[in-house]
Assembly symmetry: C2
Homo-oligomer: 151 residues x 2
Amino acid sequence: MTVYTTSALKAELNDRGWRLTPQRQTILNVFQQLPKGKHLSAEDLYNLLENQGEPISLSTIYRSLKLMARMGILRELELGEGHKHYELNQPYPHHHDHLICVRCNKTIEFKNDSILKIGTKTAEKEGYHLLDCQLTIHAICPTCQRALLPV
Amino acid sequence: MTVYTTSALKAELNDRGWRLTPQRQTILNVFQQLPKGKHLSAEDLYNLLENQGEPISLSTIYRSLKLMARMGILRELELGEGHKHYELNQPYPHHHDHLICVRCNKTIEFKNDSILKIGTKTAEKEGYHLLDCQLTIHAICPTCQRALLPV
DNA sequence: CGTTAATTGTGTATGATTTTCAATAGAGTA
DNA sequence: TACTCTATTGAAAATCATACACAATTAACG
Ligand SMILES: [Mn+2]
Ligand SMILES: [Mn+2]
Ligand SMILES: [Zn+2]
Ligand SMILES: [Zn+2]
């Protein structure tokens, strides 16, 4: 399922006794329309929605991001900036991972089909239900390598 | 390099104009003697050292963990518990990764040799100097699957 | 050994995320 | 459509991990 339609979201929420709210719809839409390679923090999302004229409280933002990550709709990323970032959790043809410079936090996305396969196989072998798997590479970028000894 | 000797740590610190302190030595020793599969938070480490009779201030703990992670000596893990965990960063024969239940945070370690290879190749291709790569699998464990709809 | 800057410990600040709680509003049902 | 029930929201306050400030200490190096 590449595009998570509103009705699919509603179905999945209602199945669990939860509700589809305008806020959750709005947040899903934002991520679906987000340019490839963009990652949003809670605060980013809060500001984006405010500028867009459909504000949502920061509490609800945090609650929704957490919920949607646990449902497997969003991926929660640790990009070394001191707060989490989120992006759409997209399966096979679109799966990608991140290479992060530990000094300047520059992040590069890359694709490697083996990763999702390994994640799927490993989860299955242990009887786990897979939600997301991410290879995070911590490294020092060429620019920061040249800068002498900083940090 | 499987065992990071004290003198190796000293050399690497001094090369950068930094110092080998008793605190840094102590912390390295703790991780080297940590049972396989154990991960320590800053607070865990703080308490462990206090009980062990060689207390180190929490500030220094935080500073040292961050430093040693950026040097590639430790790995910084996000295990879903709201704070970071650390373990020794061990190369090839000992490299492993983590499968985490997003509901109960139970964590399983697993090995797959492809992962480190992919990380190495990807970093190299982009001109990055590799420090660590980790495949984190977020999933729901068998126990939590059986529990109905919780969370 | 003396010099010098890195490091430490204590106390305090910061900032991301969570919680509380009263008001609101989805979802299922008659 | 109206009604009930409880999940959800927004605002404010609370938490808690982590960072910072600064004076005192100390590792490195000549
Ligand atoms: Mn991405
Ligand atoms: Mn581990
Ligand atoms: Zn960099
Ligand atoms: Zn579980």
